[in-house]
Amino acid sequence: MKCVFVTVGTTSFDDLIACVSAHDTLQIIKSLGYDRVILQIGRGKVVPEPFRTESFALDIYRYKDSLREDLQKADLVISHAGAGSCLETLEKGKPLVVVINEKLMNNHQLELAKQLHKDGHLFYCTCRVPTCTRRTSPLLLLLLRSAKILQRGQLPSHP
């Protein structure tokens, strides 16, 4: 069983949840060999309907005390740019795609995502809803690339 875990942290990131749970996106995720998607949606207003078929499952929840377990069983993590989520994911050695929330003003967390990308630990992209359902969406391209290229992430504790 291969699992994608999507996390938005303590606030909300509706664009990301809408994008990942769109039919086309789920098809692509499926075609990459994943058969389970878990969404942590915080206090978001976009609440996709969970479902379970023979070959695929979509689970969803708002908050848990610790994301540790879900990160542990994930084979790919798609996360907002929060430092906590990024660090925790990379510490577990999981491949990570960070999606930047462009609706946040002065988004200083972008600096961290950029640097961690430069150091080869993750991929990042933005999430524009209108382009989301097209196959050319940057997120989807990154998903494709990450599944093929991204080695197990690793974050040195000290330089």
Binding site: G9, T10, D65, S66, G82, A83, G84, L87, M105, H108, Q109, E111, L112, K114, Q115, L155, P156, S157, H158, P159
Partner: protein, 217 residues
Amino acid sequence: MVSVLVLAAAGAAVVAVLLAVRLWVVLRSQAPVPRQSLSLLVVAGSGGHTTEILRLLESLSNAYSPRHYIIADTDEMSAHKINSFERNRADKDPSTMSPEYYIHRIPRSREVQQSWPSTVLTTLYSMWLSFPLTHRVKPDLVLCNGPGTCVPICISALLLGILGIKKVIIVYVESICRVEHLSLSGKILFHLSDYFIVQWPALKEKYPKSVYLGRIV
């Protein structure tokens, strides 16, 4: 009349100079005092600050006790995270008696996207509330990583030193998110903290007086 004004001005100047000297002395004095435990005042805050500071606290021993947390009064999520962190910590180490920690709440000094002039007013207001709190707790060490609330708290802690009530060590750890630029709180507290820690080499280069230990959260 003129002489009164001159006298008043001279008086004010003397007070200002004395304060400046006192500030300088307080910021200089770093003689280590041996102690069994050290009371900690931790400034938490939404937007990742709480998560990050709790990651930092994970590596501190129980000698850092009691732990006083300060959060903004509207920040339920941080209170929840702190409670769950302390519960976990107590579970892991049953030898400790009930965990000694307290959560204090003060008004936010700056709501996200608040305008600058009103920021000044609300900061003054939270300064008014921070000082009695800091005075009551009289911590040995203040630890913070940049939420707006930490500026009035650190100034209050500094004031305790200036007034000769207690020398409080102020440790500022700039958020891991800050790779090349200091946060606004960081820029202010760079001058007022005893130890200013950055987590990326580019910041160490820009601010040579800061301490760089690699990634510590």
